[in-house]
Assembly symmetry: C2
Homo-oligomer: 196 residues x 2
């Protein structure tokens, strides 16, 4: 059965964007500061990290079966030019299906029946592989619906002081199990199972 | 030279109090869920944790030389009955020295000249040992003044969704070094050096 995982690079004080709305400057430095290379199967982009982070990334990419995105992220990313860097099918939660979507290389599916329907379709597509939730707001909704199995935090050693918090507006407390820890360079990878 | 360390139990989403103002229920469970005992030298209170957390706590307690508290925490704690559990001198940052302070067992010093003066006096008292900053607001001020050397986070596997953030209102971004990691039971201890 497929596992649904939310993954984000986050500052130690819980932000996934800084106060200017920038996500890259402080939170993704770790993806380009080492010598071990990981290649995104979809677009050939390379991460250069510590060996430990490269092993972690490779395992996550190899086990990935499908991805869920919100419409906001999809639009900001320009639909990834029709092929997500991770090279897996993408399920986009949206109110309206775009009428001008010309791509069909790696399938994009537009789901108008809400988050739970998107999770169901993504899990069916992923089979035994994992489903990654790429949008913070969708991740929060999955948590509240009891549909999230794990949270993978790339914890970056920086305090941003202000910005966009990952799980802002979460309706209730969510207990997690102790994390599986991978110490990287400029990042600590923490994978938590959600307790239900 | 003494090292100044801020230490807090914090949820994964960056809160040190839950939305009701409670600090204990979700954030300090790890101090009473194991079989390895650590004794607070000041009041004999016992922590029961994993062996790894006990070693971590013991090392922190042994190396502790002085403590800085804000007046708010001091008042909430009732001045710890005149003797802080950690058994070290306490420097209380306050605008007004209390007139009815009857205790003199382990010295409490009331500092009215501000945070920097409290840090200076605490470091002089601690000698080669560490100075711990016990109040979130004082820790933030120390960070902004460039007086904080390290941040020790007891990261608890829970999402609180709302509450009091540790470094709320921090004026600027603060870069940290990768942490020293101790994996506990119900907690991950992360000690970050502040980059200056």
């Amino acid at each position: 059965m497929s596992t649904v995982i939310a993954n984000m690079s986050m500052s130690l004080d819980g932000f996934i964007e800084d106060r200017t709305g920038d996500v890259g400057r402080h939170l993704f430095g770790w993806t380009q500061r080492g010598t071990a290379r990981s290649t995104m199967p979809g677009d050939g982009r390379e991460f250069r990290t510590s060996a430990a982070s490269a092993r972690y990334l490779q395992e996550a990419l190899t086990s990935l079966g499908a991805l869920i995105s919100g419409r906001g992220l999809f639009d900001v990313a320009g639909g990834w030019g029709g092929r997500h860097p991770a090279g897996v099918p993408v399920f986009v939660v949206t109110h309206q299906i775009p009428t001008d979507w010309p791509y069909a290389d790696v399938p994009f599916t537009f789901v108008t029946e809400g988050v739970a329907a998107a999770v169901e379709q993504a899990k069916a597509s992923a089979g035994a592989k994992t489903v990654a939730v790429a949008s913070a707001d969708i991740a929060r909704q999955c948590l509240e619906l009891g549909l999230l199995d794990a949270i993978a935090v790339d914890l970056v050693p920086v305090l941003l002081g202000a910005g966009k918090p990952w799980f802002a507006g979460l309706a209730d407390v969510v207990e997690l199990a102790d994390p599986v820890i991978t110490a990287g360079d400029g990042v600590t990878h923490l994978v938590y199972r959600v307790e239900r």
